[in-house]
Symmetry: C2
Subunit: 464 residues, 2 copies
Amino acid sequence: MAAEAETKALPIRDAEGALLSAFVERVTTAIESGEKDLVLRAVGDLHESDSGDLIEALDPDLRPRLVELMGSAFDFTALTQVDDAIREEILDELEPETVAAGVAELDSDDAVYLLEDLTRDEQTEILDKLPAPERVALERSLLYPEESAGRRMQTEFISVAPFWTVGQTIDHMRETDDLPERFYEIYVVDPAHKLIGTVSLDRLLRTKRPISISELVDKNHRSVHATDDQEEVARFFERYDLIAAPVVDDDGRLVGVMTVDDVVDVIEDEADEDLKALGGVRSAEELSDSVLYTARSRFPWLFANMLTAFLSAFVISRFEGSLEKMVALAVLMPIVASMGGNAGTQTMTVAVRALATQELGRSNAWRIIRREVSVGALNGLAFALIMGSCAAFVFSNPGLFVVMALAVITVLTAAGLGGILIPLGLEKLGVDPAVSSGPFVTTITDVVGFFSFLGIATLYFHLG
Amino acid sequence: MAAEAETKALPIRDAEGALLSAFVERVTTAIESGEKDLVLRAVGDLHESDSGDLIEALDPDLRPRLVELMGSAFDFTALTQVDDAIREEILDELEPETVAAGVAELDSDDAVYLLEDLTRDEQTEILDKLPAPERVALERSLLYPEESAGRRMQTEFISVAPFWTVGQTIDHMRETDDLPERFYEIYVVDPAHKLIGTVSLDRLLRTKRPISISELVDKNHRSVHATDDQEEVARFFERYDLIAAPVVDDDGRLVGVMTVDDVVDVIEDEADEDLKALGGVRSAEELSDSVLYTARSRFPWLFANMLTAFLSAFVISRFEGSLEKMVALAVLMPIVASMGGNAGTQTMTVAVRALATQELGRSNAWRIIRREVSVGALNGLAFALIMGSCAAFVFSNPGLFVVMALAVITVLTAAGLGGILIPLGLEKLGVDPAVSSGPFVTTITDVVGFFSFLGIATLYFHLG
């Protein structure tokens, strides 16, 4: 895709966007030689995302050495693009002076991103080495709650008074050196620095110089609060197709700007979290984690599942007598439970996702509950016919049709009900439904599945 | 959050961002009165996302009536914000003239979004009523493959020649009426309309009027091809934190612009698809779908699962003799299979997600395969001890420790191996691993689970 840098001699990515191993090897050799010039030539003029991927592809020992060898040529923004574990490893290895010098060059949002995972002591050690204005701005951002707009915002922005003209504003921008790297709108504030409104750059460009800013200002601006959660902010950006939004404090004073690139990362992260949570994996799990760490982090979910499986086993054990008299039941019972588990997962997936995107709420909850139960009952009916016929045919026992059919209808209806009620209930209790719904839904479908099948069989065939 | 429109009298959303039912009722009453003025007053000056949500909240019969009553005051962009099924219903109800008039007002990307789901005849009927330049642009966009950059791009953009000055460019923008609604960069093209590079608006604003555009142009621009898949484009935007990117055809001619707001929707949609696919739900399933439609669309996944469950049942039936002699095995076997299923899902979730985000590729596949198998074996060992002890204790049979422990290690290791190899294999075959991995992984863990547990028990206790 990319009609990339025409000035660059060698390609660094293949057609699918993966980093070329030839490029990684070239850099590895250069680092091992220990010569700064060789490294700089091998690395070239990389975008931060490319150097982030390069760092991840390097041998762990070589990563801090790359940063040290590159010196001031290394853009610390690259470290915001690598896995958390890798970033912490590198920052641990580097001298605090090196880190401070790198952080000083960063936009404030990137600097906060690097600092926030460090311990209080490590943060202080680095912050103390920064110039006062930057230190104060970073300290203030770090005071906001984790994952809030205050942590993700940039504190570099352009604000002007409403009585300025377009010409004055443009001249101001031409003469100021300390501008944000990229920006899309400017902000109009009153003398107390309270936000009045925004002016987009295209609006500014299209207006003649003598016009006053107060005539251009969009007072219908959409702003966020510094304490708003990043996920709320992301939904807000998405809903109104925003590129940037001013961030205000409790008094309505402009304290920063959130931009869409941060929001894209948040959306990606939140989708990632929900998906992993539903699959029983911690959201922080990364491909670079070690075997031991990964095994330990996945243990609790498996342990919870083991407890629900023990519960199912207990239900089954109540029917040992029936199973001894009719071993066909042992063969068929896992099918019933498995169908229930899958139907429950379907409903739960839809519910968890709709809750996350705020499509499911109080206004339509009842309609969706009714729909899910009806869908479960309807597919229950369909599979009752199919699976009942198969069971009766294979074991040449017509009674198995009745038992299987009734059990399948019961479990698929219960799956629909449990699959929607459990996420809704957990959300109401303030528990993340993506993380916790799975084991509960499985428990319901397994217990209902085994109990209904074995119970109905015991009654029907008088096995009790 | 939103310091929303200060001019608006009544709030339309609650604190969590959900539409207020009082607002929906007010609009409903106004539509039922059939008076245009009442409707316009009730609806007010809504953002397209708000009117999209309003339309979804209305009774289906009232939706087309709202559009008709509002007349030219209705912004068709709102229809890009509602579920597909609802959009198609509304477009079906409206007169082609009404739709054509609405489409004519849209940005080209929104117009294509509305038109692409209609039949060829319906498209032609509407396109024929549009002015020639717009019709041609839309027809050209519709020729690009579905879900390509060509479908998602805006064909409105500003292009200038490299020999223009900053002053000329700004004057041109001030004098042209037909500019895109919002834009963030302008494009520099040669006489054949081939893309030379981009100039960001902030760069333009910061530069003095007599400077030539050729001095500002960023030739390192990152462009996409009109035939590129939207998911590739989204990864590209995400990797390089882009706000907009020029879209070029096979000859390098500038044909449109992709903007980040479309990319945010793509990222959200793709995450949605992966999540739903893993949960066994079609990506197109929406909350507004009917019971019958939903039940039918979920049937195939349940059917596939039934086949794998039959396979497990077949494996169990091979051990009927063992089960008759020792009914404890029937009680314990579902636990083993269930642990395997859950461990397999964990690995599969990580693999599917990493493949989607291109974090998993040829360069690290072997390392991840080794890691997943090791994680499976390690947790297998841990659960072997726990579950073996429990089984031996509950049934007062020390031999069950050995049988359970060996089976658990086997199935968790197999789950790690299957959970990673199946998504990798499907990806290699060009099949979407998110959609198809589940049933295969479950088959492996179920079959290995039942076979290893019952097989080892048969050998150990001489039940054969």
